[in-house]
C-alpha cells in the first residue's frame, strides 16, 4: 500500500491531466454555444459534470467513497 505522500506524488500528474480534459471539454461546449448562438437542447450532461465537481470539492470524505458517490450521481443521467 502507498503512503499518503507517495499516493499524491504517484497520481497527481495524471489527475491534473484529467481535470484539464474536463476543463477543456466545458470550454469546448462554451465555444460551440458561442459559435452556434444557442445552448444544447438538453444540458443535463453538463449540469451533471458540474454537480460531480461539487461532490469532489466537499472538504472531507471520511469514508473515502467519492468514486461510489460519483457513480451513483452519474447513474441518474440517461
Amino acid at each position: 500500500m502507498l503512503s499518503p505522500q507517495k499516493t499524491l506524488d504517484t497520481y497527481y500528474l495524471e489527475a491534473r491531466r484529467d481535470l484539464l480534459e474536463v476543463a477543456a471539454m466545458l470550454d469546448r461546449y462554451d465555444q460551440a454555444v458561442k459559435r452556434d448562438g444557442e445552448k444544447a437542447e438538453n444540458e443535463s450532461k453538463r449540469f451533471s459534470l458540474l454537480k460531480a465537481m461539487e461532490i469532489l470539492s466537499k472538504p472531507d470524505h471520511p469514508s473515502a467513497n467519492r468514486a461510489e458517490q460519483l457513480l451513483n450521481h452519474f447513474s441518474e443521467i440517461s
Binding site: L13, R17, A24, D27, R28
Partner: protein
C-alpha cells in the same frame, strides 16, 4: 494523408516506431538535440551526438521511406554548465552546414536560471548570425508560464526575425503572447504532462492556424509518437476537411521549415 512530425527524438525510439509511422503516412521527422536523461560532461559527447542525428539517423529513417532532419543545440538543462555550453557552441557552425540540419534547437529555458538565459541568448545570436531557424523549448508544468514569459522578454531584447523562430510546447495559458509577438507556436502532445490531442484541436479551432505546428516530441520518457495521429483523427472527427488537416499537419511545417533551403518538401493540395 501525408504527415510531417516536426519534433521527434528518433534516437530514443525503435525502428518499429519508424515502420508504424511510415504506415500511418509520416513522410518526414525532425529531430532537435535534447537532454539524454543525464547531464553530459564533455563537449565531445555532444559532437558525437550531433554526428549521430545528422549523419546516422537519416539512414535509419530512410529504411522506412521517411526523411530525417535535425537541429543542434545544448538543451536548457545542460546549459547550466557554462563551460560546456560555450565549447559546444563553438563547434555548432560545422553542423549547421550538414545537408539535413535545419537550424539551432532545442534551446530555451527549463528553470529560467541566469545561465540558461545566457545560453538561450548565445544560441539565438549564433542562429541569427548564420541565418538559421531557431527552435525554442519552453518549460514544463508549473514553470511554463513564467518561463515562456521570460523567453519572450529575452527575444524582445534581441535583434531577431520572428518568422524564423518556433516557440514550442505552448498550451492554453501561453499561446496568445507567443502568437501576438509574431513567432511560430508549437503544441507538443504528451500522454500526461503536456498538451493533449483533444486540447490541441480546441486550440486549432480557437486561434489563427497560419503559425501553428503540432508534434508528438516522443522521446525516452512517457510519450507516444502517435499522439499526433490522434489529434488528426480528432480534428477530422469534428468535421474539418482533409485539406484543412493537410494544411496543419503537413503544409505548416513545410512553410516554416522551408525557410531553410535544405527542406525541399513542398505544401500539397488534396483534391477530394
Amino acid at each position: 494523408m501525408q504527415i510531417i512530425q516536426p519534433h521527434y527524438h528518433a534516437i530514443a525510439r525503435t525502428a518499429q516506431d519508424y515502420e508504424r509511422m511510415a504506415m500511418s503516412g509520416v513522410v518526414a521527422v525532425c529531430e532537435p538535440a535534447f537532454w539524454a536523461g543525464f547531464d553530459r560532461r564533455h563537449p565531445e559527447t555532444f559532437i558525437d551526438y550531433f554526428a549521430q542525428i545528422s549523419e546516422f539517423e537519416p539512414t535509419r529513417a530512410a529504411e522506412f521511406g521517411i526523411r530525417h532532419y535535425c537541429w543542434v543545440a545544448v538543451n536548457p538543462k545542460e546549459a547550466e554548465n557554462r563551460e560546456l555550453t560555450q565549447e559546444v557552441l563553438k563547434q555548432m557552425p560545422e553542423f549547421l552546414e550538414k545537408p539535413t540540419c535545419l537550424g539551432v534547437g532545442e534551446t530555451g529555458l527549463h528553470k529560467s536560471t541566469a545561465n540558461e538565459i545566457e545560453s538561450l541568448q548565445a544560441h539565438v545570436e549564433l542562429a541569427m548570425k548564420h541565418d538559421q531557424l531557431v527552435l525554442i523549448h519552453t518549460p514544463h508544468l508549473s514553470d511554463k508560464a513564467h518561463g515562456t514569459k521570460t523567453v519572450l522578454e529575452v527575444l524582445a531584447g534581441m535583434d531577431v526575425n520572428p518568422d524564423k523562430i518556433w516557440i514550442d510546447h505552448v498550451e492554453e495559458q501561453t499561446i496568445e503572447p507567443v502568437l501576438d509577438a509574431g513567432y511560430w507556436a508549437g503544441m507538443t502532445l504528451y500522454p500526461v504532462t503536456k498538451c493533449s490531442p483533444r486540447r490541441a484541436v480546441d486550440i486549432l479551432e480557437k486561434y489563427p492556424r497560419e503559425r501553428l505546428l503540432v508534434n508528438s516530441s516522443a522521446d525516452w520518457g512517457p510519450s507516444d509518437p502517435f499522439t499526433l495521429q490522434e489529434s488528426i483523427v480528432e480534428f477530422r472527427r469534428r468535421g474539418h476537411s482533409l485539406q484543412d488537416a493537410v494544411e496543419i499537419y503537413h503544409n505548416n511545417p513545410c512553410r516554416f521549415l522551408g525557410q531553410n533551403p535544405k527542406w525541399d518538401i513542398k505544401p500539397i493540395t488534396i483534391s477530394e
